[in-house]
């Protein structure tokens, strides 16, 4: 599986570490229930999904990668830093 790193170019997925769904946002306001939801619950969709990948053997950037969990088709990747802007 090739991941198009916006900085390094297309790289084999073995260069990356996977975190998971990029959608959940860390709640700021000290709400324990919201934090538990953030930490433990996932949509886990069968289909397109935005995910967090870390280019551990490359530029050390966290990426938001758009990938389909049914066929692994990768349709885009961007730097996670400042993702609010680009999301």
């Amino acid at each position: 599986m090739r991941i198009p790193c916006p900085y390094c170019g297309p790289r084999d997925s073995s260069e990356f570490a996977y975190l998971g769904d990029a959608a959940p946002r860390r709640p700021a306001d000290g709400d324990a229930a919201a934090m538990a939801t953030y930490v433990y619950l996932r949509d886990n969709p069968a289909g397109p999904m935005e995910e967090l990948w870390y280019h551990a053997y490359g530029c050390r950037a966290w990426l938001v990668v758009r990938r389909d969990t049914r066929d692994h088709a990768v349709t885009g990747a961007r730097l996670a830093a400042g993702r609010e802007a680009s999301a």
Partner: protein, 194 residues
Amino acid sequence: MADLVHRGGYAGLGRRVGSGDGVVAVEQAGLAAATVIARRGKAEAAAARLGGHLGLAVADAAKRAVSPAATVLGTGPGTWLVFGGEDPGFVAGLAAALAGLAAVIDQSDGQAVLHLSGARLPEALEKGVRIDLDPARFTPEDVAVTSIAHIGVTLWKIDAAPTFAVALPRSYAGSFRHWLEASAGPAGLAVVSD
């Protein structure tokens, strides 16, 4: 008062295998090196200042810029790995020049650097590098941070001969040496380290 002698990452690893004329590896010891990381939102300004200080054009990209005095390698967003000569003041000079624009962290002893050349180099590199090194696609302007045989490396091209340079964390020097020996083995490998 102790007087300390400096040793390169490949110290003691120099050796010839087979005919030795397939691939030639030469250690680049004693080079000053630093990681330069731009302050938040200052990547462009830092690149410009870095270029100005070293007299070359630096971009915020996986590109190489080179002058007689220094080599600047883009290794990540707003991040560069900069090699100088053996001038002990090199890193301090960078820090001063980039004050307020970037953090400058000394890595002079963290990286073990080899220059690789030889008629059979491309086929040896092919056995570890998972990126396309076709001359038309990977030029002396390009830099790749990637991995070889489970070892993280920074790889760049010095000339079209081709001569490549590879920098890796010094603690891995021995294991990298094993990969190089095995991969260049049938063609013969000479490692020169000082």
